[in-house]
């Protein structure tokens, strides 16, 4: 099937479903708006609810390239936008020297596109300048420093980059931008205002069963319902780190590998480490008895 940009809420939903992404309608509406208005999509939510997945699914749906920028503390323009290829520049200088013509005009050539290493943001804008519309994923923006946020604000408002030594590059069509944040700190309002904001909730019981049926087709309907029920109860327990959908899928995969077809107390006790990642949380569940999490599942 030929990949296209979906043009209605229903089409977005269907396209996501074809990529095995079970979205609630409000997310489909917001994605549809982002595609139509050319605005970045700002997704927040607890870890493991499928924020990053949205970008991957969008890239697969539109058949465009996924360009990913993973944020971290200290991320700067050289890592996010562009950097010069110093080793090649050095070689070029040596070569010119050897030919004894290291004069004015030629040495300027080492400051051209040829010696530039494009990082994700520039790659996205270059692709946009070439008429394509790639999916730019700016993942976990909350990990980057505020200085970087300010820079991004500028970039997202006009989708152009000026490289002082070379030129200004502008995207014809804005890339499809997906920004995710785990909310380890507040992102500045001004940046969020440029975007369409969507908070991804933990799925309801029914949707989590649907996700399991979609992403873990090997397990039975009964087991899917058991797992989803246990997850809902775990999330109600005020744990230090409540498990996300990613953990649900890991759990399903673990049970499959171990050949379990039912979630019983001993099975849960053996595999709890797949779901809970803090020793305190595991201790708490074991203390209260794993049966409570399984109750009426």
């Amino acid at each position: 099937m030929h990949p296209v940009i979906p043009t209605s809420v229903e089409e977005v939903r269907d396209a996501l479903a074809r990529q095995h992404y079970v979205a609630d309608r409000s997310l489909a509406v917001v994605i549809h708006l982002a595609l139509e208005l050319g605005r970045p999509l700002f997704l927040e939510g607890e870890a493991g609810v499928g924020k990053t997945e949205v970008a991957k699914v969008l890239a697969a749906t539109t058949g465009e390239e996924l360009i990913r920028l993973q944020c971290y503390e200290g991320l700067d323009v050289a890592q996010a936008l562009y950097e010069w290829d110093y080793a090649r520049q050095m070689l070029a200088i040596r070569l010119l020297e050897a030919r004894h013509d290291a004069g004015g005009t030629e040495i300027r050539d080492i400051m051209s596109m040829e010696y530039l290493v494009a990082r994700p943001l520039l790659q996205a804008i270059q692709a946009g300048a070439g008429g394509r519309r790639p999916v730019l994923l700016i993942d976990e923006l909350d990990r980057a420093d505020e200085e970087f946020e300010a820079y991004l604000l500028e970039l997202l408002s006009d989708f152009q980059v000026t490289i002082p030594e070379v030129a200004t590059i502008k995207a014809v069509e804005p890339p499809i931008v997906v920004i995710t944040s785990n909310r380890t700190r507040e992102i500045h309002d001004a940046l969020k205002r440029r975007c369409l904001y969507h908070w991804i909730e933990y799925p309801t019981f029914e949707r989590e069963v649907a996700i399991l049926r979609e992403k873990a087709p090997g397990i039975s309907e009964d087991l899917a319902r058991q797992l989803a029920g246990a997850m809902q109860r775990l999330r109600d327990l005020e744990l230090f780190k409540p498990p996300g959908v990613a953990e649900t899928l890991d759990w399903a995969a673990a049970l499959q590998v171990l050949g379990h077809t039912e979630l019983t107390a001993p099975v849960m006790d053996d595999t709890i480490g797949v779901v809970l990642k803090y020793e305190e949380d595991v201790a708490r569940i074991r203390e209260g008895g794993v049966e409570h999490v399984l109750e009426s599942a």
Binding site: R25, V29, H32, E73, I93, A102, I107, T184, E280
Partner: protein, 398 residues
Amino acid sequence: MTESFSANLVHFVRYLRARGLSVVPATARDLATAIGVVGLDRRDDVYAALRSLSVVRPTEMQAFDDAFEMFFGTGQVRRGEREGTEVTARTRRPAETTRTAVPILTPGHTDAADEPEEDVTEITGGTYTERLSHRDFRDLSIDEQEEVRKLIARMVWRPADAPSRRWAGTKGGSRPDLRRTFRNAVRPEGDLLPLAMANRKMRKRPLVVIADVSGSMERYTEMFLHFVHAAQGRLGRVESFVFATRLSRITRQMRIKLPEVALSQVSYAVKDWAGGTRIGEALEAFNCEWSRRVTRGGAIGLLISDGWDTGDPALLDREMRRFARSVHRVVWLNPLAGRPGFAPETRGMRAAMPYVDDFLAAGRLTDLRAVVRLLETVGTRPAARPVPHSGAAAASGA
């Protein structure tokens, strides 16, 4: 779209603004565009579309839902928009009108923020202030309290820098700055390549304050809040919390410039003044909900409490261990510690002490000055903590 509908969106945005959302007038136009895209056929689509352009944090969802219900409640746009805006004006909550709130001023009030900063060393020259600064807060008369408050507001803060992960060009830096080196090489006659260098940029360490406002702290609470307010004004990145039986975040209120207004807003916001003390539970709430958000970048954790804890010491031990792991340094201020014969022997203090790097008295102005000095000299590496038992030693990774 009809004209009245557009007008309605304008009112909708105004209403959201009055309810504390950070929408701007231009948002109304965005909302109209969005409705143009999703259409008016389905109410849930309109809801999702408008929400994505109005809300920027989960805590705003409730206010948005209420507003949406009010304007689009029946699936149709309500006609009486004017009514809506009037209701807004009346139902504004006090917490949202902080900027226009009339301060409750004490008689001898002066605007400390407008006064020039005075260096601590100069202030200590005077004999009256000298005497004042060595008196316990609870023994001060009302006039003397006012004087001490002013002195607190005028303390000079020079917090320690910590290296950030970003780099900036400097002569004699520790790493070559190739970008600058090569840019310099493009200059005419650039046949030599002098190596430009870079160092890590420095930035101020964030400060996280968690203050006990329970009954046993009552006579000190106001002074400490003044102290925290002064810190907030000087240090920038300060997050502040208070607790008795439960934790409340007061950072927003503390950002108000006038200390009297800030403190009166805090008293609005905090529900359990002078209750019992549950340090362990307060710390647990902090560790679960806030720690990951506010301790980044090597924060200094400042705990203010007399340690009269009525909670479970095992819980306090666990939560202190977690807290100590997530901050650069744990500083504990105890107003009782300066008294003769004091030893940290309360149940709570005993549970917490193994995780405390610096334990300071805080009952007098001179004590608070020592705290400010400490914050200036806090090193770039964590202090060696006394090791309580194997679990914590492994966890701190020091």
